[in-house]
């Protein structure tokens, strides 16, 4: 015998002993009127709790329900002491007799696991224990004779007899007790209603009997609150229902054991062809049961629909099933079935063979599902053809690429009619027929317009599938939609071509440098500007870098390779003929897709001509300023030396005449005569000066008349041909000064016999030419007269040229655009 069995036997003996003592107390009691009923119900109830508890501990030593059942029984016998005629024993019995009710509440809340799962249940149990203990003892403290059934039974722990205090305690204890009972009933009923399957079956009898007992007790307390003793008959009802609790427990156990006979039914059901899951669920009376099958290759359990079994399914229990020593399946069932392990295992063993079969089927289904998922979800186009080339099956990608709404739209059509452009179908058909009957692996590409009108390019590869006789059963075609790739390739090509064209046609020199400073690109503009051909420079270092500027080049390279873009940096470069040119350099790095600089491209704009023009413009502006200053200086000098002196003399003469007019009128007359001549000379000089500033005849009568005046005053004969229609004032003035200066030069230097002035208007331009038959050899750079005129002409957008070959006369030509100066 094991120690456990000895302990259980000892517990049984103690129970028998306690019941014997209880019977003795009842029989010897002088205040128990209903001795037979009390012994039959109360003593029997206590003993049945103890034995039920011991039986439960024997069957399920790990389950604490047995302890609780036994505890209710042992505590119950405290109540028997209140039957004693001895005041001390009566007091103990009256004070502790209700502890069994606390234990009963504990049992009901902890059933069937034997442990309190929720914290609120724990509080409820603690409150119940506290109430039954304090309620009983409190009454004994304040009531000397607390029992209505035994007026002589005296409390030995009374501290002062107070009916009022006793009544208050009873009322309060009853009230709290009633509240606790209601809470307990609520929890028990709720649990039962929520439970399913095996758990409900296990809970039903015990909770039903316990709830009934609690209900009776609640009624008893309610009635007792109004009339002490009126509830006495309910005492026996309570005892009867109380005694039903262990009986109900035993009924539950019996039901489980009876259920084991379901194994036979299971085998019969399986033989009849009932689904394995349904058969097991019926045998275990658990409609929620699920079966998961073991996949040895993957080392996991899968459910019948192919899903994986979680490691620890929430709120469920798992029983693993083996067949021939290897895992077969897992039963996922109600946790309550843990208490019926033998039943579950018996059912599992009985169903093992079927489960193994089901397992294999589940494994096959999982593989098929896996393959179907892959085929369906694959981005590649997949379809199978029969040996005649008809499409027998296809995946979503193939359907979509063909622009078909439904598989049936394309199934049984010839492959080349569905996925090949009409003009290529014949060739595709011929190729297919030539490949028969082997249909060796092949690859080809087709572009066609699909059912949605989109142009699609598919790269196909095919492979044969054989039957048992090694004949080609079908041809599998796998395709890749390369439309986007093809389009991107074309766009890339077009983009590269545009870039190449832009670089080739650019008027700016474009040079690309590799990271080792060698030149990798040299466009036609670079050839033209620097003079080296691409063949001469590509692959080598820069040749157009002038000596002494190495540091500048290094700095520019460093900046651009650090990612900087720089614009319009002015510098100098050298041509292949050694000439220096002014350039404006812009450069930017070229990066790879990761952002690293691969090379850089530099653009060189030849700004030599622009710089020359800028310099010429600066010089021209300076000459204009100087010329204007000089003109003002000459004007001031002329005024000072000429007219001003004459006017000073005139002033002095008038003053002298004034002083003489009275004393010497004749002298005054002479002086005044001199003064008049002085005034006439002053006027002549002023007139001459004004003509030099701007000839009045030009303003009043135009260019032709002004040139006529010049010709009249010229010692060299001048012929002229000038149209009478007016020119813009600025052009007319500039033309006049060109003619006047040219004629002045003819007179001074040309030693000519005649000169010719011609003004023509043609194609929106005015041409002014002054020619002579003199010695020639004039040089514009020697005198500022023609330079100043050139500035004046250029300020109007025109230009002045001098043609003066030695010995063949001189021709000064000015051309003015009319639109700009108009």
């Amino acid at each position: 015998m094991t120690g456990r069995v000895v302990s259980l036997a000892a517990g049984a003996v103690v129970g028998v002993a306690l019941s014997g003592i209880a019977v003795l107390l009842v029989l010897t009691s002088d205040h128990e009127d209903n001795k037979a009923a009390t012994i039959a119900l109360a003593v029997t109830a206590g003993l049945s709790f103890i034995w039920s508890g011991l039986f439960a501990l024997w069957r399920r030593p790990e389950n604490r329900t047995g302890y609780l059942l036994a505890a209710v029984g042992y505590l119950w016998f405290f109540g028997a002491l209140s039957e004693s005629d001895n005041d001390w024993l009566f007091t103990i019995g009256a004070g502790l007799g209700s502890l069994a009710l606390g234990a009963l509440a504990h049992l009901l809340l902890a059933f069937p696991g034997g442990r309190l799962v929720h914290r609120r249940h724990l509080w409820l149990v603690v409150a119940t224990y506290a109430l039954v203990l304090t309620g009983g003892i409190g009454q004994l403290l304040f009531e000397e004779f607390p029992s209505s059934a035994c007026p002589e039974c005296r409390s030995t722990i009374v501290v002062g007899s107070s009916e009022r205090a006793s009544t208050v305690i009873r009322f309060v204890a009853n009230g709290i007790g009633l509240a606790l009972l209601v809470a307990l009933l609520f929890i028990v009923v709720t649990r039962f209603l929520r439970a399913q399957g095996a758990l409900r079956r296990a809970l039903g009898p015990v909770l039903g009997a316990g709830a009934l007992a609690m209900l009776v007790l609640a009624l008893q307390l309610s009635i007792d609150a109004y009339s002490e003793g009126a509830a006495q008959p309910l005492e026996y009802v309570f005892l009867a229902t109380f005694a039903m609790v262990p009986a109900a427990f035993l009924v539950g156990v019996l039901r489980s054991r009876l259920a084991r006979s379901g194994v036979g039914d299971l085998l019969l059901a399986l033989a009849r062809g009932t689904l394995i899951r349904d058969a097991i669920a019926g045998a275990l009376a658990d409609p929620t049961l699920e079966v998961a099958y073991w996949l040895p290759d993957e080392g996991r359990y899968v459910s019948a629909d192919g899903g994986s079994l979680p490691d620890d399914p929430e709120g469920r229990a798992v029983t693993l099933v083996e067949h021939d020593g290897r895992p077969t399946a897992a039963l996922v069932h109600d946790p309550a079935l843990r208490d019926e392990r033998e039943l579950v295992e018996a059912v599992a063993a009985a169903a093992g063979l079927w489960l193994d079969n089901e397992r294999l089927q589940a494994a096959l289904r999982a593989q098929v599902e896996f393959l179907e998922t892959i085929v369906s979800a694959a981005p590649s186009l997949l379809c199978s053809l029969d040996p005649e080339g008809r499409i027998t099956n296809l995946n979503d990608a193939a359907r979509r690429a063909g622009g078909y709404a439904d598989d049936e739209d394309v199934r049984w059509r010839l492959f080349w009619e569905a996925y090949v452009a009409p003009e290529e179908r014949e060739e595709a058909r011929r190729r297919f027929e030539e490949a028969a009957p082997e249909h060796a692996e092949a690859a080809f590409e087709h572009t066609f317009v699909n059912g949605l009108g989109e142009e699609v390019t598919i790269a196909w590869s095919t492979a044969p599938l054989y039957d048992e006789q090694r004949s080609v059963r079908s041809i599998v075609c796998a395709g890749l939609d390369v439309t986007v790739r093809e389009r991107q390739h074309q766009q890339l090509q077009a983009s590269a071509e545009r870039l190449r064209a832009a670089i080739e046609a650019s008027p700016v020199a474009i040079v690309e440098y590799a990271l080792d400073d060698t030149i990798t690109r040299w466009n036609p503009a670079a050839e033209r500007i620097f003079g080296w051909t691409a063949e001469e420079v590509v692959g080598g270092p820069a040749k157009h870098q002038p000596p002494g500027r190495e540091e500048e080049l290094r700095e520019l390279f460093r900046r651009v390779r650090a990612g900087e873009v720089y614009m319009a940096v002015e510098s100098k470069r050298v041509r292949s003929d050694g000439a220096y040119i002014d350039v404006e350099i812009s450069a930017a790095p070229i990066r790879d897709s990761a952002g690293s600089v691969l090379s850089h491209m530099a653009l060189f704009a030849d700004i030599t001509e622009r710089k020359r023009q800028e310099e010429e413009l600066r010089a021209s502006r300076a000459r204009i300023v100087h010329a204007a200053d000089d003109a003002r200086r000459v004007l001031e000098r002329n005024l000072h030396d000429g007219a001003q002196q004459r006017l000073v003399a005139l002033s002095l003469s008038l003053r002298l005449a004034q002083s003489k007019v009275m004393t010497d009128p004749a002298e005054a007359q002479t002086v005044l005569e001199g003064a008049r001549e002085e005034l006439a000379s002053a006027l002549d000089e002023l007139r001459e000066l004004a003509r030099g500033i701007h000839p009045a005849v030009l303003t009043d009568r135009g260019l032709s008349a002004a040139v006529e005046t010049l010709a009249t005053r010229s010692p060299v004969p001048v012929e002229f041909d000038i149209p009478e229609d007016g020119l813009p004032q600025a052009v007319e003035a500039a033309a006049y000064y060109v003619i006047a200066e040219a004629l002045a030069n003819v007179i001074k230097y040309a030693a000519a016999t005649r000169a010719n002035v011609r003004v023509e208007r043609e194609d929106g331009r005015v041409l002014v030419a002054v020619a002579d038959d003199g010695v020639g050899g004039a040089d514009a750079s020697r005198g500022s007269g023609l330079n100043g005129l050139a500035d004046r002409v250029e300020a109007l957008g025109g230009n002045l040229t001098l043609d003066s070959p030695v010995g063949r006369g001189t021709c000064v030509t000015a051309v003015f655009p009319l639109q700009r100066s108009a």
């Binding site: 002196q645 000073v648 003399a649 002033s651 002095l652 003469s653 002298l656 002083s659 002085e678």
Partner: protein, 133 residues
């Protein structure tokens, strides 16, 4: 009206009213007009010069009381003549004349050591007498 400087330099300062004058100017018409007007008002024009060198030579030779000196002369200007005379220790009262206004010359007149300045159009015996004090 003639311009008279506030601080009359020692070189050209005279206690008595001069009577003899040399006119130095490159314009013959002005020399003739000046001679006529000054002589009619009591001065004695004892010589003329048409440039700076001539003016210095005339002073050296004729020792006039007053040198009527044009500022703008063909060789060097009246200020240079004034400096040369001071350098040579000659002591005529130098009166600068010009057809321009005195303000055109700024501080040059004052710094030259000349007795004063008369605009040509304002020249008269009275103006000269006033300047000479």
């Amino acid at each position: 009206m003639g311009n008279r400087t506030d601080t009359t330099p020692q070189l050209c300062d005279h206690e008595r009213v001069p009577k003899t004058v040399v006119i130095a100017d490159d314009h013959p018409s002005f020399r003739a007009s000046a001679r006529a007007i000054l002589q009619s008002e009591g001065f004695e024009v004892i010589g003329e010069a048409e440039d700076g060198a001539g003016a210095i030579a005339a002073v050296s030779e004729l020792a006039p009381d007053v040198l009527l000196l044009d500022v703008q002369l063909p060789d060097f200007d009246g200020f240079a003549v004034c400096r040369q005379l001071r350098h040579d220790g000659r002591t005529p009262a130098v009166v600068l004349v010009s057809s321009r206004d005195a303000c055109d010359y700024g501080a040059l007149i004052e710094e030259s050591g000349a007795l004063g300045f008369i605009a040509k159009a304002e020249l008269s015996g009275i103006a000269l007498t006033d300047l000479l004090g």
